[in-house]
Each structure stands twice: as C-alpha cells, then as structure tokens.
C-alpha cells in the first residue's frame, strides 16, 4: 500500500480523528492486508533488485515493510559488488519517493524550455509518440539512449533498424569509447577488459579513477581493499598517475601528479626502462612492438615532459618490473585529452610487457552471456554521440526532426562546445523518457516517466568489471508510484502500435517476456543450467538476484592488434590568457548529476573538499595567492566556450596550473534539491575530440579564474558564516514535507 493511499484510507477508516502531537500518522495505524504476504504487517522483508544508478549494475537487496521500500543494501551473491553499495545506490530511495518525480506523462503547454507542462493520459502519450514517428521521414529521426551494453540497448538498435532510422547513439562517460578502442589495440579485446586488481601485488593506474564514482566504484573499492589486506603476508601497492588528487589518488601509496596530457609519455618511458632491463621475455617484447614499434622516450625526457622527477619514474618502473604480479590500468582523464587514445594504449600495453594477459592478478577478456544476440541487428553499429550532435547542429548527415531521448540527459552531460542546448531547441519534436525535468526533459514536447528499478522488472548485464558474466535479475519490489515504466516496456508499447512492418519485429509482450524468452532460447549456454528447465532456472536466478558466470571461464585477451597512434603533445583549447587546465570529475556527491536531486547526496560532503550543497573549483594555494583568492570566495571560471560562477576551494594537494570542478551541478530544474545549485562544469568544456575517436576531449579545456567576491560555502565540520541559513524541506514522500532539515547554505 502506498503512503498516499494509506493517508487516504485512514482518513476514510478513522474519520477526521486527531493525530496532532503524537508523531507521524503511520505509527497510529496497523494495516490489515487483503492477502497473505510473506511478512506480517510491520515486519521487514528483503527483496533482490538491481541498482541502475550507474553502468555498473550492482545487485541490491531492498528492505520492504508493508509494501514500502525502506532501506537498500548490497546483494552478497552478485559478483560486481559482493554485498557493497555506494552512496548513490543507498539514495535510490530518494528517487523513488522524490517529491518532484514525474509520475504521469506530460506534454509541453508553453514554449519549450519554459518548464510549462500539462498531464496527458498514458495511452494518449503513446499515441502521440507513434504519431510523431509517422510524421517524419525515418532518416530524420534520432535516438539517444543510456544502456549501451544491455538488452535495452539492443532493443533500441532493433527499433532504429526497424524504422529505417540511423542507429541510436548512447550517452556514456566519453572516455569509455577511448578506453575500449585502446583496449582493442593494446589487448585485442572487443570491450573493456577485466583487471584482476584484487590479486595483483603492484598496480599502476594511469588516470583511471577506479575508486571514484562512475565505473563500478563498489567493485573496485572491494578489489582495492582485497589487494591491500586480503593476503596476510603481502600488502599490495597502488600508484596513481594523474594530474588531479582524485579519491583514487588520495588512497594510493604513491601519487604522481603528472602534467595533464603527458600520461602516455610516462607509460612509454616506463616501458622503455623495463625493456632495457632485459627481463622481458622475447615474445612479450615482440608483441609489445606490434603496439609501439618505435623507441620509447627516456626517463629523463619523460621527467621533463611529465614534470615528475626522473628518480620517481624509475622507482615506479622498477617496482612494476620486480613485482610478482604487476598490473597497469589506464583511462579517466588520461583518456580525455586530444592524445587520450595514445595515452591509454601506452598504459594498457605495459601489461603485455609484464606478461599479464590471462594471468592471476593480470588482465582478462570481457565476459558476457550474449543475450543481446538475435535481439539487435546482425551488424550493430551505434551512432557516435558526436555524430548525433553534428546532425542536431545541421552540420552533417540528415537533419533531425524527431529526437527520442531515453533515460539520458545529453543537454546537461555533453560539452557546451558541442552546442546541443541551442541545437535541440530547433528540433521539431523532442520526446524524452525521464523521471525528472532535467535539462533535456525541459526541452521536450512530451515526457514519458520512467519507473525506478524498484518498481519494475529489471534485467541488466553488468559490463565486464567483475570478470565473470553477471546478469542482475529482479522482479518489482514495490508497487509503482505512478504510470512510469521500464524504458524497454515503453519502447515495446510504441513499437506494437506502429505499422505491421515494425510491430511484427517486436512480438514480446513486455521486457520481462523478452528476457525470459532469451534466457530460455540460450538456456544451454547459461552457467549452471544443466538439467534445469527454463522456468525453474529463471526462478532460481531471480531468487538469488541474477545469473552469474563462473570464474573458471575467464579467458586471456589475445594481445595487441595493431600500432597505437604516436604520442603527440596534448592540444588544449584556449590561448595563453587561459592559465589553467580544467579537469572535470565525478564526485561521490552527485555522480554525473543523477544524485543532484537527492538531499542525502547534496548533504553528503565531498570526501576531499568537504563541500556540501553546491559546486566548487579546486585550485592550489600558489595559484590562489597569485590571484588574490581565498578559500570559499566566489570566483568566475571562464573558458573560450563559456563562463560559470562557483566557490573556490584551496587545496594544497592540487597541482599548480590545474583546476578541477565536479560534474552534475547547475540544473535549471531537475527538482527542488538540484534546481539552481552550483554550476555545470560542462558549460566550460569545448568542442575538442580525442584523436582517432569521436569522444569528447573533456580534459583539454583551459580556463582562467577571477575573484568575484566573498562567498558562503557549506563545508562539513566547519562553521558556517553566511548569515541566515536556508531551510530546505526534506520529506520522505511527496505528501510529507513538514519535516524541515536545516542546512547552512545559500544557493550558489
């Protein structure tokens, strides 16, 4: 029973009796359920579900009391998170109960972007989508979705192919495209490989923010802890080479604050040192030269280019060379410069020298159950998001007259230099599947709400971070709060209403039916399926939270497949008047922005800066002194592309010449907790791309900073001196906003 129904029912059942002075209404009542349930009224039941708050797809268990979700923990059986759950996962409850969640379909009732919407019946909304698709030529349709690797992504590919529209584009962290391409070159894998960090002795991470949010933070945190502590006689060492003191760098034994864009030079110099030592087997050296035929830079050259002392580079190289299980990972900001592909390929290539392919504590090929097979077109090729942006701007390809955006916010997440915000306003019809009025949904003609993963059947195969195939499977754990559905179910509903040529290719009654059908078809290939019927196998899988592969099936990657690009110097956008390199990053507070409308996460202090309820820019004490900026001041950050205002955080761990800003702030709406708080760092990022890919070079923007004046910043453990605090109502449910949580911040 939903709380709103409860309040309604109690008002009928008990009349207008007095409750004041005795706490919340729930404690006054006891609900007698209609049918027998596994738990008594008031008792807790735990249900498996799948967290979809980032691409990792952790298994979760949800405490349900009287039909309401109360608490989220990790599913210990799920190989990705093994019982852990991150702050974003915990806060999923605040998406479920968010007072600003969209529960009914809405259509624009004023100028697009004005925020004026009116409710529309669900069937009418689906009919409007069908009508919009039929009203434009298929090649003028564009689709943006978020679930690239799973069955939902496969359905969008199938949908686009059935319409005759260009393939969908998938919105993900841009550096992942670079990392995949680099892994293909250096390791021969078709997707991101698995790094066996837990069993390594010495890990060199070149830019990879494994302990920061965005890429299976829980999995890597556990692997990191196992590497350090799980073996009593051996404590693993962790070295982070990255310009910014990230959460990963802060946890490392050694931090090498390399000059941004020179990460590849560091990796190549280390390779040169290891090769020169004579300890590399001839076959490994030969394979490495497939990737890098040329000579490596000397450690002295690297020291100059990277601005890191030579002896430290040599020490790291020696440590890696002599470690029994040395491992190198790469990515993150190292992949987000114009030379990012070369940087990451150079990092991953070190594993070839170290003999890590398929070795315990080394690198393994990605694993998948292959369920997307037969669902997606035979030769799936996604549209690069940059190509879609060019279409939207009218610069190449067919112009876009109908844009469908599913569970993604490209207007917020893509660089301002790509001009999406302006271009989307020129698109005739924009249909958005979203639970909130994020920056893209604000531009929509029609918004179709989504159910949270707790309210829907969910099946999500995690990317390869766990080393084994892991398909999280779960039935709905609570009743839906509104009309929202799974994006795949919305797709299927639309497809079935389209002409027969399309509808006939989408015969599944629901997403659940599709998943059940695919598992049944491939039952013989499913782990642990011997002798089981499809129905029994699926029931058992749902009872433990998913289908999980066997570690014995892990395989070695094939090795380098071709030459990596040469290591050009990184190109930056901005002339000498822009003195600082800008490094955007994802904080555990808001992640990529998904957490911005949740008060738990707004109140959550960033672990390094301790900032709460707003955004900030980190700069070094030396740079701050030169600019006359004090900690907490309001500053203007300007690039060639844009300008934002935020607060300064002066941190002695910041490399001089580099400034950092968190992602996921500065929404025009997106709910009361997100609206108008902080600034969107992507408003500064230019149009540059990583050479050899279509990915945004989001770490290649240069900025200048000027002081605006004194500021009032909320930081954990520090006295707030900003005058009157702001009172923010934080309710557990839309109807309950009477509990005030006092925060000490002002809007910034």
């Amino acid at each position: 029973m939903r709380r709103r129904d409860f309040v309604k029912a109690t008002s009928v059942a008990a009349g207008a009796t007095l409750l004041e002075g005795c706490g919340s209404p729930e404690e006054q009542f006891i609900v007698q359920r209609v049918r027998q349930t596994p738990e008594l009224p008031g008792e807790s039941g735990w249900r498996f579900s799948v967290c979809r708050q980032c691409a990792a797809g952790c298994g979760i268990v949800v405490r349900v009391v009287d039909g309401d979700a109360k608490k989220i923990e990790g599913n210990q059986a799920h190989p990705v998170n093994k019982g852990g759950v991150c702050a974003l996962g915990h806060s999923l409850l605040q998406e479920l109960y968010n007072p600003d969640r969209i529960l009914q379909a809405q259509r624009s009732s004023g100028n697009r972007g004005s925020g004026a919407f009116e409710a529309v019946a669900w069937d009418d909304a689906i009919a409007q989508v069908v009508s919009a698709i039929g009203a434009v030529p298929a090649d003028r349709i564009a689709i943006v979705a978020s679930d690239r690797s799973g069955l939902t992504g496969a359905l969008w590919r199938r949908f686009a192919a059935a319409l005759g529209a260009p393939a969908p584009a998938f919105l993900e962290a841009p550096e992942l495209e670079v990392e995949r391409r680099a892994a293909q070159l250096a390791l021969g894998t078709t997707d991101l490989p698995y790094f066996d960090i837990a069993n390594a002795d010495c890990v060199l991470s070149i830019g990879a923010p494994i302990l920061d949010p965005g890429r299976s933070q829980v999995h890597f945190t556990r692997a990191f802890a196992d590497m350090r502590r799980a073996r009593p006689t051996r404590r693993g060492r962790f070295i982070q080479a990255e310009a910014r003191m990230s959460l990963t760098a802060a946890n490392a034994d050694v931090w090498l604050p390399v000059r941004p864009g020179t990460e590849g030079v560091l990796a190549r110099a280390i390779a040169g040192h290891i090769l020169a030592s004579g300890s590399v087997p001839a076959d490994a050296a030969r394979r490495y030269r497939v990737l890098f035929p040329g000579d490596a830079p000397s450690t002295a050259d690297a020291a100059t280019q990277c601005d890191v002392p030579e002896e430290r580079i040599v020490a790291v190289a020696e440590e890696l060379r002599t470690a029994e299980r040395g491992l190198v990972i790469g990515g993150g900001s190292a992949a987000a410069h114009s030379n990012g592909l070369a940087n990451v390929a150079a990092a991953l290539g070190l594993n070839v020298l170290l003999g890590n392919l398929g070795r315990v504590g080394g690198v393994f090929a990605p694993a998948s159950l292959g369920l997307t097979r037969t669902v997606e077109p035979s030769n799936p090729a996604d549209s690069p998001i940059a190509e879609l942006a060019a279409r939207l701007r009218g610069e190449s390809g067919e112009p876009v007259e109908l844009l469908i955006v599913a569970d993604a916010d490209p207007v917020h997440a893509l660089p301002a230099g790509w001009g999406i915000r302006e271009a989307i306003g020129r698109v005739q019809t924009v249909i958005v599947l979203s639970s909130f009025r994020d920056d893209t949904a604000l531009q929509a003609n029609l918004i179709l709400p989504l159910a949270t993963e707790l309210e829907r059947f969910e099946a999500y195969e995690s990317p390869t971070s766990a080393g084994v195939a892991a398909l999280g499977l779960a039935e709905a754990v609570v009743e839906p709060m509104g009309d929202g559905q799974h994006p795949a179910d919305i797709l299927l509903a639309v497809a079935r209403a389209l002409p027969e040529s399309v509808a006939s290719r989408f015969t599944w009654a629901s997403y659940e039916a599709l998943v059940r059908a695919r598992v049944g078809e491939d039952l013989a290939r499913m782990p642990g399926s011997a002798g089981a019927t499809a129905s029994a196998y699926l029931s058992a899988a749902i009872d433990r939270g998913g289908i999980f592969g066997d570690a014995a099936a892990m395989s070695a990657p094939s090795g380098p497949t071709g030459a990596a690009p040469e290591l050009p110097g990184a190109l930056s956008e901005g002339g000498p008047e822009y003195a600082f390199g800008l490094l955007p990053f994802a904080s555990v507070k808001n992640g990529d922005g998904r957490g911005a409308n949740r008060p738990w996460l707004q109140e959550h202090p960033d672990p390094l800066s301790t900032v709460m309820w707003g955004s900030w820019v980190e700069l070094s004490p030396a740079d701050a002194a030169e600019l006359g900026i004090h900690d907490g001041d309001r500053v203007r950050v300007e690039s060639q592309t844009g300008s934002v205002e935020t607060h300064a955080v002066i941190d002695p761990a910041v490399r001089p010449g580099v400034v950092s800003m968190p992602l996921g702030h500065g929404y025009a709406d997106n709910g009361r907790y997100a609206q108008g708080r902080g600034a969107n760092v992507m408003a500064l990022v230019g149009a540059g791309r990583v050479d050899g890919t279509t990915a945004s070079a989001w770490a290649a923007t240069r900025v200048r900073i000027t002081r605006v004046g004194e500021g009032t910043m909320v930081r954990f453990g520090r006295r707030y001196e900003g005058g009157e605090p702001e009172l923010i109502p934080v309710g557990w449910a839309p109807q309950q906003t009477s509990q005030l949580v006092q925060i000490r911040g002002a809007r910034v």
């Binding site: 059942a13 009796t17 706490g23 404690e27 006891i30 359920r33 209609v34 027998q36 008792e43």
Partner: protein, 155 residues
C-alpha cells in the same frame, strides 16, 4: 530522559474508532486463541494481524449475516484490493526511539494481559496501561530482573 510522548495527554486515551466493531471477547468465547490471529507474537517483533482472506475464510460461513461481518466482507470482496486500516490501541511513538519486540516478552512468560489488559473480555479493545510510560516498563523489567540497559529497548 526525554524519550516520552510529547504533546499527548497523561490520561489513557479512549478506545480509538475502528473500521469494524471487532469484538475480541466473541472470538475468545469461540476458543480462538490469541496466537491464531496474532501469529507473530511468539517469534517476531510485531504480533501481526491475519490477512483479510483468513478472516473471510471463516466468515463466509460463520456469522455471515452479522452487520459488522457483512461490512467486513463487503470491503474484502469489493474493496479493489484496499486493505483494512485499523487504529492501534497501544502506541509507542516513533519519537521514543523504541524498538519494541513482542517475541522476547512472550517467550519470557509475560502474559498478554500484562500490557493489553484482559482483551478477551473486552467487546472493544482499549488501553489499560500507558505503554509509552518508560517508568512502567522499567518497573516490570526490574521486577523480572530483565535488562534495564538503555540500548535494550532504545535505538
């Protein structure tokens, strides 16, 4: 200690209005044990209520023409799945931060009537002791040599 009901009267409240005029005494007279309906009382924190379907399984035949039973069956059959919502007779407010559990009390031999009064003789269940009065709880805990550590009962 401030963990007491705030804003409520010191006097015991009258029986709260209920959706159905349920009579405990009639059911006890018909030899239906407390635990038949409150099946969680010996094993769980909550004593619990039977599902409406369980009530209906008897009342399709038993006292089927009683006005209150008719009212109940109407809600069960035509309520579109809406549960029956009862007012609690004994309420420990959330603000008291108490995690009360029935099962350890019952297992220790505390009779239901100690806290609930002789419900079996009541036509309308009503409060006979102030269960939100911590002193009353402590008196019994001391008499029974049970723990009086704060964390035994409070979060």
């Amino acid at each position: 200690m401030a963990l007491v009901m705030v804003g409520c009267s010191d006097e015991l409240p009258p029986p709260p209005p209920q959706p159905i005029a349920f009579s405990h005494s009639v059911h006890i007279e018909n030899e239906i044990e407390c635990t038949r309906c409150h099946e969680g009382v010996e094993t769980q924190a909550q004593a619990g209520l039977p599902a409406m379907a369980a009530c209906a399984s008897c009342h399709r035949r038993q006292a089927a023409d009683h006005p209150e039973v008719v009212k109940f069956m109407e809600q069960y059959a035509n309520g579109n799945g809406e549960p029956m919502v009862w007012r609690k007779v004994h309420v420990i407010p959330t603000s008291a931060m108490v995690h009360f559990k029935h099962s350890p009390h019952v297992r220790a031999g505390v009779d239901c009537a100690t806290c609930h009064g002789d419900v079996g003789s009541m036509t309308v269940a009503q409060q006979v002791v102030d269960v939100a009065n911590m002193g009353w709880c402590l008196d019994c805990h001391r008499e029974q040599d049970a723990s009086i550590d704060c964390m035994t009962c409070h979060h």
